[in-house]
């Protein structure tokens, strides 16, 4: 948990990440509120707020008496949204920093390709 953003937002993002990378499959249950609270050592109300954020977005839904489950199609929707945010979250800071260091776009593209081979 970092201090720059509300914890409930970070809880929601962490569950989103688990759905995107397949750690939690569609139609599978996400951890309960009390499990999230105990694991992250946070107030249960905060954990609930994070999960409710995903409920509002239609990413998870409640099944009466059994818990919260990932809605079918959630993964594709999350990926689409993350792609939309990718430019603002990652590319623009990258380009700004590159410009500060005098790295041109072509050189930057070359660096990206090289980094990809290395990793």
């Amino acid at each position: 948990m970092d201090d720059s953003r509300p914890i409930f937002v970070q809880i929601a993002e962490q569950i989103e990440n688990d759905i995107i990378d397949g750690a939690v499959a569609e139609d599978a249950a996400i951890p309960s509120i009390n499990e999230l609270a105990a694991f992250h050592r946070i107030n249960p109300a905060t954990a609930l707020k994070g999960v409710n954020r995903l409920v509002e977005q239609g990413i998870v839904a409640k099944r009466r008496g059994v818990g919260m489950f990932v809605v079918p199609g959630a993964r594709a929707r999350l990926i689409e949204r993350r792609r939309d945010e990718f430019a603002a979250d990652y590319l623009r800071p990258l380009i700004t920093e590159a410009a500060k260091l005098g790295i041109g776009i072509d050189e930057l593209a070359g660096m990206l390709r090289e980094e990809r081979i290395l990793s």
């Binding site: 948990m1 970092d2 201090d3 720059s4 953003r5 509300p6 914890i7 409930f8 509120i33 009390n34 609270a37 105990a38 992250h40 050592r41 946070i42 107030n43 249960p44 109300a45 905060t46 707020k49 603002a88 623009r92 800071p93 700004t96 920093e97 500060k100």
Partner: protein, 301 residues
């Protein structure tokens, strides 16, 4: 949906010419964990003593479970107050404390108390006055948790507790609160340690409330901007600054208010570093010397 457990309006407490509590408005809701924060002498303990009926206010209104708490047994039996330096009768052992606790707390869970005794490795048969400072604190923490009182106050409960014991306290508190929701007020100096446990934060300074806000709203509500002085000044020009520091041509300023994506980008373009401000740092800024001359200042949550 929420039920109010305690409400104060214009509450005043004076000791001679000293005003300890200076017209406080305060509401505690059912089933929440509150952090009552502030510097030494800010009035935290006085507020808790008023709320638990140990002292009488000099003015204002105070209702706990719908009544003035002082001398009302039906209110007092729903309260538990764990003082920083709890006193016990001479020759008492922890075993005596745990045996008599159910007489005062109707929701007392003896099995839970027993488990906590093991967690904290508390010697039950040793006389209280022979216990270490940390063991004495453990007695209070065990009583506070196992009493399951609908309104529980912990006033600096951790004195002498080591890091492991404090973590046990926080973990057991969270677990048990999840199973048995109740209102808990935690007064502490170790703000960073408890920040994530809190649902609501009340900051007291000189007998007044400086901040009364959901912990989620406080988190990320301030940011420190650092870099060349001129750039910092340009960036913070029309923003509320709650702290400033400068070394040579470099400056850092802490601003109250969230930054959006455009702000962050602009800061990056100006060559400025942004750093989040933890709850503890924010409270240092709000109650530190910079505001000493302006206690009246309104602080936006």
């Amino acid at each position: 949906m929420t039920t109010t457990v305690a409400r104060a309006r214009g509450l005043v407490k004076r000791y001679g010419s000293f005003t300890a509590i200076d017209g406080i408005d305060l509401t505690l809701e059912e089933g929440r964990i509150y952090g009552l924060l502030g510097r030494n002498g800010a009035g935290k303990t006085t507020i808790m003593q008023l709320l638990t009926g140990q002292i009488f206010p000099n003015g204002g209104e105070l209702e706990v479970f719908g009544r003035a708490p002082a001398e009302h047994a039906e209110v007092l039996r729903r309260l538990c107050f764990i003082a920083e330096a709890q006193r016990y009768p001479e020759d008492f052992t922890p075993a005596h404390v745990l045996t008599s606790a159910p007489w005062f707390f109707e929701h007392w869970d003896a099995a839970f108390a027993e488990r906590l005794v093991a967690d904290f490795r508390l010697p039950l048969k040793r006389r209280i006055k022979k216990l270490s400072r940390g063991q004495l604190s453990a007695v209070g923490v065990i009583v506070g948790l196992a009493s399951r009182a609908p309104l529980t106050f912990f006033d600096e409960p951790y004195l002498g507790l080591d890091a492991v014991a404090r973590q046990i306290f926080y973990d057991r508190l969270l677990e048990d609160y999840a199973e048995h929701p109740r209102t808990i007020v935690l007064s502490t100096h170790l703000i960073d340690e408890v920040a994530n446990l809190l649902e609501h934060v009340i900051l007291i300074d000189r007998g007044r409330i400086l901040l009364d806000s959901d912990a989620d709203d406080v988190r990320g509500s301030a940011t420190t901007v650092a870099g060349p002085s001129t750039a910092v000044e340009r960036f913070v020009a029309d923003r509320p600054v709650i702290g400033r520091e400068a070394i040579g041509g470099l400056a850092s300023a802490t601003i109250d208010g969230r930054l959006d994506r455009a702000d962050r980008l602009r800061a990056a373009e100006l060559g400025l570093e942004l750093a989040p401000v933890s709850l503890q740092q924010l409270i240092v800024h709000l109650t530190g010397t910079e505001l000493a001359g302006a206690p009246e200042k309104e602080v936006a949550a």
